[in-house]
Symmetry: C2
Subunit: 209 residues, 2 copies
């Protein structure tokens, strides 16, 4: 292979190729199954070669998280605040549900990178334009984000359902009166509906500056 202009291809390896293979591995085998050695095997390379492009296992996982985050589409510059925030929330959700086993990387890691700021800008801009004082806008942003993180963790099977994991009969037999009474509803969880229900509450609360 001849050398090209710009970034030379050099070996088989590159940060991007490693991150993509890592994401594929998480998608297929789950987070717990990821190891540097297995990832190297998948790439046909010595385990230590990965360290030339990635700072270690933790940095690898951060990198994968950032890829996922970067895949969230910017919401259309809609004048309507509610539309904008709803679009972003749905985009976030779609990105996470597209990689359910990798989603906890985004939902449970503190990402230092600048890419994490793009969604913040997308929410904050319309809030400020709508006349929110910046402190209230940040409060609102954080409340919505907390709800999103919590629901998505649940959708992605990584958060407690406090009930949903139990079977109907077990709930009815629990001896807890309210739990028994609501058992049919506790036993199933329509994630879509729960998401819309909670999101509406948050957006209603932020309807007026």
């Amino acid at each position: 292979m001849t050398t090209r202009r710009g970034r030379p291809p050099k070996g088989v390896l590159s940060r991007e190729r490693i991150l993509l293979a890592g994401l594929a591995m998480v998608d297929e085998e789950g987070l717990a199954a990821v190891s540097m050695r297995k990832l190297a095997r998948r790439l046909g390379v010595d385990p230590m070669s990965l360290y030339n492009h990635v700072d270690g296992k933790d940095a690898l996982l951060d990198g994968i998280a950032e890829m996922l985050l970067a895949a969230i589409p910017a919401p259309p510059a809609d004048p309507d605040l509610r539309e904008t925030m709803s679009a972003l929330a749905h985009g976030f959700r779609a990105a996470m549900l597209g990689h359910p086993r990798a989603a906890p990387l985004v939902l449970t890691r503190r990402l230092a990178s600048i890419t994490a700021l793009a969604p913040v800008e997308a929410v904050l801009a319309p809030l400020l334009a709508a006349g929110y004082p910046p402190d209230r806008a940040v409060h609102g942003l954080r409340a919505v984000l907390a709800f999103l993180v919590g629901t998505l963790m649940r959708e992605v099977e990584a958060a407690p359902t406090f009930g949903g994991a139990h079977r109907l009969a077990e709930l009815e037999r629990s001896g807890l009166p309210a739990v028994s009474a609501a058992a049919p509803y506790l036993a199933v969880c329509d994630h879509e509906a729960e998401f819309e229900f909670g999101l509406r509450i948050m957006l209603d609360a932020l309807a007026e500056p």
Copy 2:
């Protein structure tokens, strides 16, 4: 030591002693540092001995999570719905903040045990008593829970802040107009205030059946 009535003490080991030592280990060294072998060393015992009382590392972590969950105080049987839900939310928060490094165990694991149902009963009972149809009560419960999980993950340093991790100067230099404008508020995060702000939104939304 003479044999006692009831459960005989047998060896040094017991499920309870193991779980307590495990929780202490998480508190002191963090989740990532927990290993069966180190826990055994701490207990002065062969690693394999733990397996007589606990089903493996995953079951150990589940057991620790359940201990934490069981420590949430039952809310006083207050006739006021809002009081009750607020008391439970604050009890949950206090329990998690009491063991910040162990909190992700509760917040990110699907607990099958029946102990996870006690808080559900505590929330559901007053909602049903207040006249909520059970499906709406369950919706409300899940929305509040999602918010709690999301905020507590953030408080406990395990969830993305999307901004909070950045320093003020960095935010101002980001080139993102809304981020720069709100930078002073993004740079700090008063967890207490954020918690109350979000909780109020959720409780307001559930004020009427």
